[in-house]
């Protein structure tokens, strides 16, 4: 069943210099429990598309279907992890990750109990009482991701969660993200610049053009799961990667 479907979504921002077309006729589909990635050059409108999906920005035309319907409050189904981690500096790690539960009316005691049980999974055990500024970049991303997952929404929108990390940390985080995804069984739409990352993680990839973003290519990634790091050098993996790189160059 289709969890999230975009039909010909178009958007331009009005700026001082006139209209700035950002997205053109974006149609895509994410099915339940699928991991789908969007790759595209910087500034092509990826974050804008996420803002449209979660209702922060209104599209000019086209529709967003969640479980087959247009929703007035997409936040009921969607949990969003923005490009910046946006951890609240005045809240400790534990208080940051339980924020969505608290906003949904869960008691602090229950929310804390649930979060404490998962600290290990998210690699934050022992850091519950720290403030965000006391964490490394990788830990901040894990805390932000934990907050996103704890919101218990079916669909996760992850906007370049590993964009600011060094290659080694990034690689660890990718494998770890797959484990988390496996464990929590959610539908994921993932933004990245990194083609290899997209192939390694996804079931399906959409390649976007330069601004205004259009869908240039849709690729299925029929690699076996669970994915293992060794796959990256495999012939099938490389072929998919090359196909995407070629379409980006074209």
């Amino acid at each position: 069943m289709s969890k999230l479907k975009l039909v010909e979504v178009t958007k331009s921002y009005s700026t001082k210099e006139g209209p700035l077309p950002v997205l053109e006729q974006i149609s895509l589909e994410v099915r339940g429990n699928q991991f789908v990635s969007l790759v595209g050059p910087s500034g092509c409108g990826k974050s804008t598309l996420f803002n449209i999906i979660c209702g922060l920005v209104k599209q000019d035309s086209g529709s967003i279907l969640l479980e087959g319907e247009e929703k007035t409050k997409p936040g009921d189904l969607i949990s969003y992890m923005p490009q910046k981690d946006l951890l609240l500096p005045w809240r400790r790690v534990i208080d940051n990750v339980i924020l969505p539960l608290k906003l949904a009316g869960v008691s602090t005691a229950d929310a804390v109990r649930e979060a404490m049980g998962l600290m290990d999974v998210f690699g934050l055990k022992g850091f519950e009482r720290r403030y965000p500024w006391e964490l490394s970049g990788g830990m901040r991303q894990r805390a932000a991701l934990m907050r996103t997952v704890l919101a218990k929404k079916d669909i996760l929108l992850l906007d370049e969660p590993f964009g600011a990390l060094d290659a080694i940390t990034r690689f660890k985080m990718q494998s770890w993200l797959l484990q988390v995804w496996h464990r929590f069984k959610r539908t994921v739409l993932f933004i990245t610049h990194d083609v290899e990352e997209a192939v390694y993680l996804s079931d399906k990839i959409y390649v976007l053009s330069q601004r205004p973003g259009r869908i240039k290519l849709e690729v299925d990634v029929p690699l076996a799961r669970p994915r293992i790091p060794g796959m990256i050098t495999g012939a099938h993996f490389v072929k998919i990667k090359e196909k995407i790189l070629k379409s980006i160059d074209a």
Binding site: G75, P82, A104, W133
Partner: protein, 250 residues
């Protein structure tokens, strides 16, 4: 610690030395301009009296300051919620600051007598403007993306104010508190100056009228000390309440 206070101490000592030698070499009469040494000599004998009066001044200042904080927070939140209120009230706030307090304070004495209330009102009037402005500016400087994130999480307007806007306004609020806190003692003295049964303001007018300028300067020292004390208390509380603000820079 030592290094931090070295230059302030040197400059203060230099200033006092200049003053002392000016009085010494010009042979100014003590009742016209007492030298620091005259004031220092008179100060211990006056201390019990200064403490007696200072208590009233401090009480008026602290109560008025607290009132100003409450009113400022309430107004800032209301103005944040309602743009109509904001546009309507802001000019009034600015105009209220152009009214010379000295000219209206006697009215408060006619209305409310010689007790604590008129002084509290003067203090609150002096303090609340920098507070409102600091809270409003702080709330405006909030990271829009944080507000948006909470909106997607389903937060209500009030939850957004409580969880994001007010905490984000704290550094600015504390800057305002320091300004207003220093004004508060002065406000109380002005209130007392115009009519009181007790207080440093009354003590000062009496000293003035009897040409006992060593007494006047002793009272000024107490006023300054109290103001600096309030300032330091606010600084210490700020470091406890907004650790993220101080930690980032260090």
């Amino acid at each position: 610690m030592g290094v931090k206070y070295r230059y302030p101490l040197i400059f203060t000592a230099g200033f006092l030395l200049l003053w002392e030698s000016y009085v010494y070499f010009t042979g100014k009469e003590k009742w016209l301009l007492p030298a620091p040494s005259d004031i220092a000599a008179a100060f211990p004998g006056m201390l019990p009296l200064l403490v007696e009066h200072g208590r009233y001044t401090l009480l008026a200042a602290v109560v008025g300051f607290a009132l100003a904080i409450a009113v400022a927070l309430l107004l800032a939140v209301l103005m944040d919620i309602s743009p109509v209120l904001r546009q309507g009230i802001y000019p009034l706030l600015v105009i209220s600051q152009t009214i010379p307090i000295i000219s209206v304070a006697p009215l408060f004495i006619i209305w409310f007598g010689y007790g604590l209330l008129p002084k509290v009102i003067v203090v609150a009037l002096v303090c609340f403007f920098p507070l409102v402005v600091s809270v409003i500016q702080g709330m405006e400087a909030v990271d829009r993306d944080m507000v948006n994130l909470l909106r997607v999480m389903g937060a209500s307007t009030w939850q957004i104010i409580k969880e994001v806007k007010l905490p984000a306004a704290l550094p600015s609020f504390f800057a305002g508190l320091k300004i207003a806190g220093t004004y508060s003692i002065m406000g109380a003295v002005i209130g007392e100056w115009l009519g009181a049964a007790k207080g440093l303001g009354l003590f000062m007018t009496r000293a003035m009228h009897s040409y006992q300028y060593d007494r006047l300067f002793s009272a000024i020292i107490v006023v300054s000390l109290l103001s600096v004390l309030l300032f330091m208390i606010i600084e210490v509380i700020g470091r406890l309440v907004i650790p993220w603000h101080y930690k980032k820079g260090e």
